[in-house]
Symmetry: C2
Subunit: 355 residues, 2 copies
């Protein structure tokens, strides 16, 4: 954890240069976010038969069959899911960072003197090359200015509004439709077998909570994320309210994931799903428990239907934050299951035609 770092920490894996790939600040094309959560009656309908699907089925059978030596009592059935790259698209840039950049004009509108101050000036220019070159500390200033300083209610309203209009440049759809249908099915399957599903994300806890229930069927209290402090105060009429503060409580990535799990859940998961180096400690922590444990990594190896990166592109181990060869090796050694998006998933998104 970096308690002294005023940024909210969601920028931990941001490859700044990828900002060049950003669309112009999203136009306000209003549309109703209606993410597909449809599934057929069969569990894991969007999964091809194979080792990954079988591992999930075997795990559920082992933990829910009363006669199984690995039976897990319902109150201990905890499953945790990373979000970016595990439940929804993280390329070319985290959706929350797009949100922050899109939010800059409104921040400047409220505080005109920022107009000619960096990094706001550059963001307002819309010059993607220049935005992409902003140093990390400037990006942190943008995150602080757009994620803190407002009441928690105002923040929720701002994110809700953005989600209803912003679209991913490639699919021209709301970000909340870019959810991996097979992962929705895993969460639904686990829940129907008594598991409590949690999101454990390096993204902002308050950000993800805005859509977690609608999109994933996960209530706000089951979202664990990077989180800052709040300040309690009173409005003029005496009504109490909370303001989001630029003070980091938990950077919920890497070691922060097991820390966040202890803080918010208090129990070791029996199943954990991730896709990058930021999920490593969560998978290790999950795997260190007794009895049946399921650790799975989503491998982005489908450059056609989604993106190919990480080991699928032979990315070097030094590239922290992605699914590196080092993580791949650890997975093989420890018996974690690797999900090939290309081979294990019949379809990626709910809007994909079924094959």
């Amino acid at each position: 954890m970096r308690p002294d770092n005023p940024s909210s920490g969601i920028n931990r894996r941001v490859v700044i240069s990828s900002i060049a790939l950003l669309p112009a600040l999203s136009e306000a094309l209003f549309s109703t976010a209606a993410p597909g959560q449809t599934t057929s009656d069969a569990p894991l309908a969007s999964w091809n038969d194979g080792a990954a699907k079988q591992a999930i089925l075997d795990f559920v059978r082992a933990t829910t069959d009363q006669g199984s030596p690995k039976f897990v009592s319902p109150e201990d059935r905890i499953a945790t899911f990373d979000q970016d790259g595990t439940l929804w698209v993280e390329h070319p840039i985290y959706s929350q960072v797009v949100y922050c950049l899109d939010r800059v004009p409104a921040v400047v509108e409220k505080d005109q003197k920022l107009k000619n101050v960096e990094p706001f000036k550059t963001v307002l220019s819309g010059n993607r090359e220049a935005i992409a070159k902003l140093p990390q500390q400037d990006l942190e200033k943008i995150l602080a200015a757009t994620l803190t300083g407002m009441s928690v209610d105002d923040f929720e309203a701002q994110v809700k509004k953005w989600l209803s209009s912003a679209k991913h440049e490639r699919w021209k759809r709301p970000y909340t439709e870019l959810i991996y249908q097979p992962m929705l099915e895993v969460m639904q399957y686990l829940r129907s077998n008594g598991f409590k599903t949690y999101i454990v994300t390096g993204g902002g806890q308050d950000f993800v909570r805005v859509y977690s229930n609608q999109v994933y069927g996960i209530p706000v209290e089951q979202v664990v994320g990077t989180v800052g402090g709040t300040k309690f105060g009173y409005r003029k009429d005496g009504t109490p309210f909370l303001t989001k503060e630029p003070k980091l409580l938990l950077n919920d990535d890497n070691a922060g994931k097991p820390q966040g799990i202890h803080l918010m859940i208090g129990r070791r998961p029996h199943a954990a799903f991730g896709n990058s180096g930021g999920d490593r400690e969560m998978l290790e922590y999950t795997g260190a428990g007794d009895g049946a444990r399921l650790m799975m990594l989503v491998l982005h190896d489908d450059g056609h239907r989604e993106y190919a990166y990480g080991p699928a592109q032979g990315l070097p181990a030094s590239k922290v934050g992605t699914f590196s060869q080092v993580l791949y090796d650890e997975a093989r050694k420890k018996g974690w299951n690797v999900i090939s998006m290309k081979n294990d998933w019949k379809r990626i998104f709910a809007f994909d035609e079924r094959t």
Copy 2:
């Protein structure tokens, strides 16, 4: 919040002088903690008819009757409960502080050089008068030494062992039997009507989690308390584990209570129960929401069956942390319900004979 304060914050309302009332460090009289959760079939069986009981019944009817204009959908049925003085006895001193003092010999055993170092030397002496005179900063040293530095698993085992042997000096019973039976019935009644019950305590989150499920029927993830950071590390064999750190993340008292509610629950409660100034902001925050809201304060006015303090003893408003006259006045003004332990409760504890 006091993020720079290395103590865990559970000492916020400790009246040092009350330590003089402590029993000698609890003897290891092992007994099975078997807290009474028995209730008759009728809801609120241990409550006398009256305004307080009626307020609870009315609130549940208004929020759960589909035809009610104040109907609350099940996912928004959140009820929060302070612990010390609201769910169990807090006099003459918080149980967790007794735990910390009882724990000192084991800490010194492991680190012999502390034997002649204050404040440990004084605690070891068993001299109650001297212990009572220890300044606040010394008490904080004791809290830090006994609540941090060990793995989360070791801490849980230590608390569990203590709970099985420590006894309250007055009742000669385990602390986990000194639960207010009428409050257990409120929690059960709310849960049976679709409410999710949370503890929101100034006490240590990890401490309360050890017994919350057994004693209150509240799972660990529904305990919000004062909480410190943890550190992720590996044992020699590569097994990952978490160590409790002397770094305060949240002082879950006063303004910290709504902050903790936002952090851990993410929704405003519809019902909140407290007993002291530390619960004021939680009650205000709860009351600031729309629709049906139930705010209740437990008044300790039964010197015979429990204790009489706060307004029942005419305690001055300056006495922070207790149910002061100021809080009493605010309750009357805002329509919060005051529960008289003497008049509203047929019995206080499960082990009391029914009247």
